[in-house]
Symmetry: C2
Subunit: 197 residues, 2 copies
């Protein structure tokens, strides 16, 4: 294994650790010292890899995007009729990676202000996500699977909102909210809504 390669692996390892800590305590609530300690490296060692704290954040975000892109591709590969059924499966999968979900929720909230370090990224991300879901809805429309009077953009925002919101309620209070059951129930709601049955 070359030195370059080993460094890349180390970087990857640090990113996973940072993601975990950012999820637990937020970006602002996590210090470089926290990350360094858990990664078994010194603070300047960290900064050698990522330049500064914001650089570490961006690396974490980028890494998470790779994961969710994989899911989007998976969705696109399915038959339109099967896509709704994929939602609960997605929830089921996410349930065992609560940290990742928490990371996302926490970072979005910390990025609401326009000058926050991750702001532009999340704005772009949500726009892209809405466009993807709207496209999926449009393709279902073209296949004649949907009721009339369906606005793909509006419905896309609504679907993403519901899934996000349910996830937040679950993360806050996992005992009271069964995320898999909730998403299953919503998938049925959505099917009725989209088909107009």
């Amino acid at each position: 294994m070359s030195r370059r390669e080993r460094a890349r692996l180390r970087r990857e390892e640090i990113i996973l650790i940072a993601a975990e800590l950012f999820a637990e305590r937020g970006y602002r609530g996590t210090s470089l010292a926290d990350v360094a300690a858990r990664a078994g490296i010194t603070e300047p060692g960290l900064l050698h890899h990522f330049g500064n704290k914001a650089g570490l954040l961006l690396a974490v975000i980028e890494r998470r995007d790779l994961d969710s892109e994989a899911f989007a591709m998976e969705l696109f590969g399915m038959e339109p009729a099967d896509r709704l059924r994929a939602l609960p499966e997605f929830a089921r999968r996410n349930k065992h990676r609560a940290g990742l979900a928490k990371l996302f929720t926490v970072l979005v909230a910390e990025s609401l202000e326009p000058d926050a370090p991750g702001h532009d990224h999340f704005v772009a991300r949500y726009r892209a996500l809405r466009a993807i879901v709207a496209d999926i809805i449009r393709s279902a429309q073209e296949a004649g699977l949907t009721r009339d009077g369906l606005d793909p953009e509006a419905k896309a925002a609504e679907i993403i909102a519901t899934l996000d919101g349910l996830q937040t309620q679950w993360l806050l209070d996992p005992e009271a909210v069964d995320i898999v059951a909730a998403v299953e129930s919503y998938a049925r709601t959505l099917e009725r809504d989209l088909t107009g049955s």
Copy 2:
């Protein structure tokens, strides 16, 4: 004006300032010095009123709850059939108080971890909120206004999730998301869903 009264007003003033800052930068991102400077008081002066930083947070949260309780009472005072129409009005009102909405989103995200200072409060709040919405749905059921097979608890979580999620998307990217239109559209979705029409 008595001394007590003047102190209460000062406290109230500080709470509003702190709420604004917490919304912009989060609880963790806001220092007592920030709040003190904007309130025209010293840090120990702040602590005199609130004991410690978490005390200030709780005071801010309590204050916000008073506001939203008022809305809940308003909802309860309406005819069941009119309640759906109140949602867009609520969104319209909130639009001009984006700070308050942001505060809530940011604080919930910062409270996801069980040992966060506001955690228990938000857990209790969401449970209560779901119960209130479920009650409203149940009363609509008893009035014979709804379709069969409607689970009030699940639907309550779903409604709250959607409204929260739309709000987050709007706060992140107000140019791309028209919150009033989105909530109006969702109110129509919801009406179709609840009545089964």
